[in-house]
Every structure is written in structure tokens, then in C-alpha cells.
Symmetry: C2
Subunit: 508 residues, 2 copies
């Protein structure tokens, strides 16, 4: 179509319709995945996968279609671009980014990669189960090799790994991560050593009881409601691997898993997913039906789950308010225990082998191990074949522990089997962003601890919604952080927070 | 494409892919509807409706596309047709039937009708609530008028209403229905009179208690399992208006509604939907992904829900086996009651105003009222404006009762507001088919009552699966009935069954 302003309104409206259609397909696929993971009958799964294949295939086609190409040509023309508002311009640039990425991969290569990662995920499951790295190695080698090919096709600046990082955290680079992780590590390692040397260890015995599942569920729902999670725009279900999914801002679902012998697992898991959900529930209605109607990055998303889980949920003010409710929820089970005992038990620091079981401090070290390894894989400094050895060395170095087999070592996470390199740093970035946001909230909301201690969490949710959630993907992670906190990502806030917290608990 | 046999294999495979894609869209929409009706958060519904609109629109486009047209031209060419097997030929004729129907309506007419029925459904809700027929009348007039236009476009043989009947019960006509309903009515009306005159009325007081919802659910699940409902290919959820939905044969979901003061509502509702579900779960795997992978008609489908609900579930042998379980399920609530008392209470016949609350006998009379009215509307013998009066006259005539207002009279059912004329007869046809099938089962399986009394329901399910379910839509209703029972639909079996049953209960 010729570039004239005469048909700007028509093109605007057609592009909007086109994007709405894409979002509709995405939403349908999202619902199918939610259903698959919360109780879809197993005999229907094979056929349901065909449905997912059809709809995802259509969605991919729309994202790289000639029609999309001509929309992008039209809207990126300087004459037209100058007439767009900020939201429209961001929508165009998001679509263009995805279009360019996808177009640079030959379709047969992409197809090969889809098949490879799908086979690889099931190979990984078996390998993990049998602690047998050798059976997984050829898949991982091929996945790394294909990612290197893709990076060459996509292009890169500086480190090749930057191109992968950018997929999950737009604008993030090895240079920045080296700096922030370096700073983090410098303080985290001695802090961990001091904690381990402390003789004031928390007594965790009061957590080691049996807890009725129905009561756990009731308490999880209660805390979600306290957080301001909107049950008319979401629901809580059970699953094996908990997740939150934002189908649209009016339908953001959380899942959790109840362990009969662990009162904290489902509770903190629910708060964590609840944090993700608050983000998605509070995206501005203007962005519905556009590609901006989602969190801006994995790191910012994770900052919200961790902010609610850790900075609020594992804080002393929180338990000063809610421990009484917890006691009443489990009659007789916490009789005679104090808030302080529960708070300390809930914040035990202990280097361990498994990332997903790690405390707030050591979690970051688990991530750094993965980051170092991914960086080395994509610079060529480390080969896939060497991963088990490198993994174990790094765990010894960072955490002082050694896996007894690869199942609890290099094979523990699903990410690499699906080709998700560049994803892990988001988790630690989330912790850093969260601490940085908290510093600002404390400044702007005044008595933050007092609000939490009073169970007055809604002003906190509203502040986050106003400063972060409502923008969806309209702002980049870096724009969000600087706009909210007045500076770029700064790892010092996380270390200051952790140092204060544990100095107090472990009397350092 | 030129009609040659050289590319038959290619065309076969492309057509199969095309149909699979259509089925995938249908399955996605089916899942979204299930979700909307079982707990989707209400604030997400508006956006979810957009998703349904996109996917349904795509599905409709595929069903009338040029591509579909050229597939149909190709496969209906005698030279190609002769090389198709029976299943393929049936698939082609099903697609052609839908294609021709849709193509004959100008798209703007169709769009107008979609908007009209959607507005009309919400107008009906208000009208029913306010018992205000006048506010609904203009919608209904327009819907009838447009259906008459459509009938002219589609064409008809004999009565115009035949074209509508054929949509739900392929091959059904006014001529046949007049005959079977006439025969039914001839015996049903005097039977009802005899029952009303009987002094041996069941005592229903034992049903008038409070029943714990969790226990009701447990018993519903137990009975479903006894019926051979496959829980790995389905699940039971709660909803306001119960339904069964076959997403694919490996995922056939049932919903029910538990009333605290009614032990029978959820139980028989579950058995009813369970009957529909057994049909869909047992369709042959060969038909998955084709338009034949569903029940052959509403009437045959309803025959299965009613067979399980009434012929098995409301039978004396069934309760001789399961009443003990029911007593144990509700400790203390049926102490001292006998199987016979429960059986009689469960089979009370009572003319009433509301179809969905009707017993096995009067249900058919409710349907005949609607059938007479629909027939008269489409012959022009009755005007929409006269419906309340006609309705009340017919209820007096057939059932001896008169609504106190239109909300419990002519406005009680949703069907007409959505334009579903021709649907109601399916319910009574289902009762007739069910009785006719039972006659054959009794002959072929030997001691049918003995199997039921022993709780040995699986051979019955297997027989139905083998004779009916596995064919899906491969055979027409008439082919199914004649193949299974050796004769065309015959209303005498239903009347013989009802006469025997109630003569015994009411000692006629």
C-alpha cells in the first residue's frame, strides 16, 4: 500500500484488528495450557496438542506474514511514524522486533529447532531421572550449536550471549551483568560465610509437622485476598509445577501445590505467583488486545513475585500481623511458638544443591553459576561435554556443596533442554529490582513496615500498580527502573537488604 | 484443480489436514465455553468473548471458503467419488451439506441474524424474569421471519418446518413426527389420567431432606464410575446449567449442579450427562479430527442420556443394587426406608408447568406442546403475538395445568430466543429411541434386569458402544435405529415401557 497519510486511520484500525486477532490466538493457547496443567483428562492430551499446534502455527504465521510486513513498512515510514503516539510507536517496534527475529531464521531451520527442543525436553526428563548426562549431551550440543547459528543470523553486539539475554531482559548485556553480579558476589560470599559461622541458627523444628491441605488452601486464599489479588479477575488452582498465567487483565490465574509436611511451600509459592498475578491484573485497560499487554521483562516480572514473596512475605512486620491468623488456621500446631521463632525458621539460610529450594541469599549464587556457564558456552570457552565437571566446580566454589550425581547437579533444571539460554539471570535480576523498588517505596510511602505490620497491603499494591504494573510492556525494564527509582539497576540495594536482614537474624 | 485421479492421494491428505484444522478450532472454542461455564473469572469474559468471536469466525470462513468449495467439487465428481470409502464419502457429504446451507445465506443476512439472536437472548432473559412477553415479541417475530426467509433460500420439501427439523434430526419430517407423536399422545393422555385417578400415590417425603453437597458429589462420582465413564478421558465439574461437552473422545467433560435439599437432582443430572458422555467417549478413534467425530443427531444423543438416566437410573433393578450404597452415603437419612419406597418416590408422575422438572411420562407432553406450536408458526397458522394464549390452551389440553404468568409459561425455555426451532422434538425422540434400543438390548443381552440388579453395567455400556457410539456421525439416525433394532422409529416401545412401569407403580 502506498504511504500516504490519507489512509492512516484505516491502516491504524486494520492493524489494531490484526493485533487483536493475534492476541486472541495467544489467549486461546494460554487457556489450553492452563487447562492441561490443572486437570485436563490425560487421554485427550494428544489431540489437544494438535490444537495447540494449529493455533500456535497460525499465530506464528501472522507474526511474519506479508500483511504484517506491509503494516510495519507503512508504520515505520518516518512520515507516518511522526504521527503515531508513544503507545502506537512501541507496538510497532515490538512487532518489528519479533518480525525481524523470526524472518532471519529460514523456516526449515526453525522447524528443525522446534522438533529438536521437543525431543530434547523428553530426553532431559529421562536423563535427569537416570542422572545420565551422556544421554542428554548430544541434544544439548545440537541446541547450543543451533543457537549459535541463530545468533549469527540475528546479529549481536559485543558478546554473542547478549542476543539471548535481550530476549528475556531487553537491553541486558554481559557487561552489565558482569558488573552487577560481580558486585553482588563480592558481598554475598562473605555474608554467607558469616552466616555459616554464626552460632545463632534458627530452629526450624516447628515447621516440621503435618498440615491439613484444606487448611493450607484456606490460608493461601486469605493471604491472596490480603494482597489485593482480585478473585473476580482470577482463580487459584492446584498443579504440579506452580505458575501464574495472565490470559487477559480480567483473567489472571494462579496455581499452587500443597505439600502435607510443609506449611511454607504452598504459602510462599502462592504469594510468589500472586505477585506475578498482581502485575498482570493491573495492566492498563488501554493495552488490552495489543502486544504490550504483558509484563515488560522476565526480570521485572520476577521482581514482583519476589517482592511479595520475600520482601513482604518473609518479613518480620508481615508475620507480626499474620502469625496469629496462622496459629488460628492450624489450631494447636503453633501453640507456644512466637512470631520471632516462626520468622527466624522461615528465613533459614543454608547452601544447598537445588536452586528452587534455595533461600533468599544463596538463590543468587545458584543463578550466578548458571550465568557463568551460559556465558562460557556461548563464548566457546566451555564445551557441553565439560558441563558436569564445570557445574560441580562452580557449586563448590560458590556454595561449598557438591552434587552426588548429575540429577541433582547439571541436569536439575528444564531450561536448557528447551533452549532457554539467557533466562536464568532474570531470577537474580528480579531480586535486585525488588530491593531497589523497596527502597523507593519506603521513601515514598512513609512507614512501609508499619503498613505491612497493620496488614494494610493495598496501598503498597496500588503504588506498584501505578508505578510499574499499569505500563505493561510500554516501558523497557531500564525505563521502568530509572523512572521509578531515579537510577539504573543497582545491586547494592539487594545486598544492603540481605546484609541487614541476616545480620539481625544470625546476630552477625 | 483439475479432476484427475493422479492427485487423489494429495487431495485426500490436504482435505484431511484442512478438516483437522477446523476440528482444532472447534475444540478450542469448546474448551473456552466449558471454562466460561465452570468458573472463568467474570472480569475476563468480555475479552474472552472476542477470542470466541475470532475463532468461530475463522471456523465459519473455513467451512465456506473457496478452498472448501474446490475440495467439494473435486470429491463429489463421480470419477473421484467412486474411489472413496464410506467414511470419506460421508465426510464429504457432511461438509457439502454445511457448505450449501451456509452459502445460500447472504453474508450480511447471516451477520444480521447473529446480532439479532444475541440481542434476543438477553431480551428473553429480561422478559422471562419480568414475565413480560410483549418485550420479547418483536425479537421473536423477527427471528421467525428470518428463519422463514432462510427456509426459502435453503429450500424445503413438504412442510417448511422440515428444513429446521433436519438440522437437529437428519431426515426427520412433520409427517413422521405427526405419526409418532400422535401414537404417543393417544396412549400417554389416558395413561396420565389413570395415574392421576390412582389412589396408590408414591410418598415422596423421604426425598425432602437436606443432603450434604460433598456427599452428593461423592455419590455422583461413584455412579459415573459404575456406568463405565472413563475419568482419564473426562472430569466432573459444577455449573449452573448442567451439560456434557465432547472436546475429543479423550476429553469428554460433564457438569452438574448440587441442590442441598434435593438428593435426586444432581444424581440424575449426572447420570443424564454421563449418558451423553459415554456416547462421545466411545466414538471410534478413526473418526477423530473429522466432522463425523460427534453424535449423529440430537435425538440419538438424547436417547443415550435418557436411557442411562431413566431406563437404567430410575429402574427398580438399579435401586435394588444401589439403594444400600445410597443409604451408606447418607448415614441416618434413609434409615428404615425400603428400596421400594425410594423407587416409587423417584418415579412420581405429576403434570407440571416446567419442562425440565417433568417426569418420564409428562415430559413428552411438554415437548408435543412445543412441537405443535413450532409447526403452526412455520405454516403460518399461528402468529407470534398469539403464542401466550396458544401456549396456555395447549398446556390445559395436554397437561391440565395453566401457568400463572408467562415466565413459567411460554417464556420458560431459552431455545426460541436463539432461533433453535426444530430442536425440541429431539427430546421426545430420545425417549422413543431409548425405549426401542432397550427392547433390543433385552433381547440380545439376555437378562438385562439381572445385569442392572448386579451393578454389572459395563456389558450394557459395551453393547451401546458397539452398536451406536462408535459410529459417531457415520450413520444417520434412521440407519442406526434400523441397523440396531431391525425397524424404523416406533413409538410403541416407549408407550409399552411407560404403561408397564406406571401400571406397576400406581397399581393401575
Amino acid at each position: 500500500m502506498p504511504v500516504t497519510t490519507a489512509n492512516l486511520e484505516t491502516n491504524r484500525s486494520e492493524f489494531k484488528q490484526y493485533l487483536k486477532k493475534m492476541k486472541s490466538y495467544e489467549e486461546a493457547v494460554g487457556l489450553i495450557y492452563w487447562d492441561m496443567r490443572t486437570g485436563a483428562p490425560k487421554k485427550g492430551i494428544a489431540q489437544r496438542s494438535e490444537v495447540v499446534g494449529e493455533l500456535s502455527g497460525e499465530l506464528f504465521k501472522m507474526s511474519v506474514s506479508e500483511r504484517m510486513g506491509s503494516f510495519l513498512d507503512y508504520f515505520t515510514d518516518p512520515q507516518i511514524d511522526s504521527q503515531l503516539d508513544a503507545t502506537e510507536r512501541k507496538i510497532v517496534s515490538e512487532c518489528k522486533k519479533e518480525y525481524d527475529r523470526s524472518k532471519k531464521i529460514p523456516p526449515e531451520k526453525y522447524q528443525e529447532y522446534v522438533v529438536l527442543t521437543s525431543q530434547s525436553e523428553s530426553a532431559w526428563e529421562d536423563a535427569k531421572h537416570n542422572a545420565d548426562f551422556a544421554s542428554f549431551q548430544p541434544y544439548l550440543e545440537k541446541i547450543v550449536a543451533m543457537n549459535l547459528e541463530f545468533i549469527d543470523l540475528w546479529g549481536y553486539e559485543g558478546h554473542k550471549y547478549n542476543t539471548l539475554l535481550d530476549m528475556y531482559e531487553p537491553g541486558m548485556t554481559v557487561e552489565k551483568l558482569d558488573q552487577v553480579f560481580g558486585a553482588l558476589r563480592e558481598k554475598a560470599v562473605p555474608l554467607l560465610a558469616a552466616i555459616e559461622a554464626s552460632s545463632h541458627k534458627p530452629d526450624t523444628s516447628l515447621l516440621k509437622q503435618q498440615f491439613d491441605i484444606a487448611k493450607q488452601k484456606k490460608f493461601s486464599l486469605y493471604i491472596l485476598e490480603q494482597m489485593g489479588y482480585d478473585f473476580e479477575a482470577g482463580r487459584l488452582d492446584e498443579t504440579v509445577h506452580p505458575f501464574a498465567t495472565g490470559l487477559n487483565p480480567g483473567d489472571v490465574r494462579i496455581t499452587t501445590r500443597y505439600l502435607p509436611d510443609d506449611v511454607n511451600s504452598a504459602l510462599f509459592g502462592t504469594i510468589h505467583e500472586g505477585g506475578h498475578a498482581l502485575y498482570e491484573q493491573n495492566i492498563s485497560a488501554d493495552l488490552i488486545g495489543t502486544p504490550l499487554c504483558t509484563g515488560t521483562s522476565m526480570g521485572i516480572h520476577e521482581s514482583q513475585s519476589r517482592f511479595w514473596e520475600n520482601m513482604i512475605g518473609r518479613s518480620r512486620p508481615f508475620w507480626s500481623r499474620y502469625f496469629g491468623d496462622l496459629q488460628r488456621n492450624y489450631p494447636g500446631q503453633f501453640d507456644g511458638a512466637t512470631v520471632e521463632q516462626f520468622y527466624r525458621a522461615t528465613n533459614e539460610v543454608k547452601p544447598s544443591l537445588i536452586r528452587i529450594e534455595a533461600d533468599e541469599l544463596t538463590y543468587n549464587l545458584h543463578i550466578m553459576v548458571r550465568y557463568e556457564i551460559e556465558k562460557a558456552l556461548f563464548s566457546g570457552a566451555v564445551k557441553v561435554a565439560d558441563l558436569p565437571e564445570v557445574w560441580n566446580e562452580k557449586y563448590k566454589e560458590y556454595l561449598g556443596v557438591t552434587p552426588s550425581h548429575n540429577g541433582e547437579g547439571v541436569l536439575q533444571d528444564v531450561h536448557w533442554s528447551g533452549g532457554a539460554f539467557g533466562y536464568f539471570p532474570s531470577y537474580a535480576l528480579g531480586n535486585m529490582y525488588a530491593a531497589q523498588f523497596m527502597r523507593t517505596i519506603k521513601r515514598e510511602l512513609g512507614d512501609f513496615d508499619g503498613l505491612v505490620a497493620a496488614g494494610n497491603l493495598i496501598p503498597i499494591k496500588n503504588w506498584l500498580a501505578d508505578k510499574i504494573y499499569r505500563y505493561g510492556k510500554l516501558l523497557t525494564p531500564s525505563e521502568i527502573v530509572t523512572q521509578v527509582t531515579g537510577e539504573e539497576l543497582n545491586p547494592d540495594y539487594l545486598m544492603a537488604y540481605l546484609t541487614d536482614k541476616y545480620a539481625d537474624i544470625y546476630k552477625l
